[in-house]
């Protein structure tokens, strides 16, 4: 005899935890670090060429690197952050990527 019990709907809810979602969605930062030999003008030119930044934005970021030791010069998707980081390293700047902490 067929059961009269209603069929149980499959569980379609995701089992992914909130922290995992956050980790995937948090942007990646491209960080440029200060060094004592690179001319400031070179840093500005590299930022303009690689990111297409205007002169005032590139200069402001260069000054942040110079005064604070590092600056986040771009944030976004991991693959693009990696690509930008490689371009900066090829241009001779000290650059790394890190996932945004917030």
């Amino acid at each position: 005899m067929p059961s009269l019990k209603p069929l149980r709907a499959p569980d379609l809810t995701t089992t992914t935890t909130t922290s995992t979602i956050d980790e995937v969605e948090r942007p990646w930062n491209v960080v440029v670090w200060n060094d004592p030999v690179t001319p400031m003008q070179v840093v500005v030119v590299v930022f303009k060429k690689i990111f297409g930044y205007a002169d005032n934005k590139a200069t402001a970021l260069m000054l942040t690197v110079h005064h604070e030791g590092r600056a986040i010069v771009w944030s976004g998707a991991a693959d693009k952050a990696q690509s930008y980081c490689v371009k900066l390293q090829v241009a001779g700047l000290m650059a790394t990527i890190e996932q945004d902490a917030s």
Binding site: P36, V90, G92, T96
Partner: protein, 142 residues
């Protein structure tokens, strides 16, 4: 001081370096090219610094892309070493290769801050200052 580089109306960069200046550039370009291909070269590690320090190893494809681009820039710089006029792309290859050489020089000589730079050997300091002057002159035109 005489100009080391000048921008022409057609967009090309004129190289006004004398023989001594070109010899400095040749040495820097050559060292970058060799260092990129020779894992035993003292600059090799500097040219292969981490992309994502939170990981034990970077993506090999990214590392390969970086090696390829750095090597291509050095090759283009070497190939145009004796040119009187550079296209903007060639001038960019000169700038990036000189900058890679400058930073590698600083790293292998433990020049991590202004104090270390000021205390550097006079011959080394002279070399660093020369590369900085070349870079500043090029950056003004790009």
């Amino acid at each position: 001081m005489a100009k080391l580089f000048a921008r022409r109306r057609d967009g090309r960069i004129e190289v006004k370096l004398n023989d001594e200046g070109r010899a400095v550039a040749r040495e820097a370009f050559g060292r970058v090219y060799v260092a990129e291909h020779d894992s035993e070269h003292e600059w090799h590690k500097t040219l292969n610094s981490p992309i994502d320090p939170s990981r034990d190893l970077d993506d090999p494809m990214l590392v390969l892309a970086r090696q390829s681009q750095t090597g291509s820039n050095a090759e283009l710089a070497i190939a145009t070493l004796h040119e009187q006029f550079l296209t903007p792309q060639e001038a960019w290859a000169w700038l990036t290769t000189l900058q890679v050489a400058l930073r590698a020089t600083a790293v292998v000589n433990n020049i991590y801050d202004e104090d270390h730079l000021a205390a550097a050997d006079p011959v080394l300091l002279d070399y660093v200052r020369t590369l900085q002057i070349f870079l500043f002159a090029l950056a003004e035109l790009l």
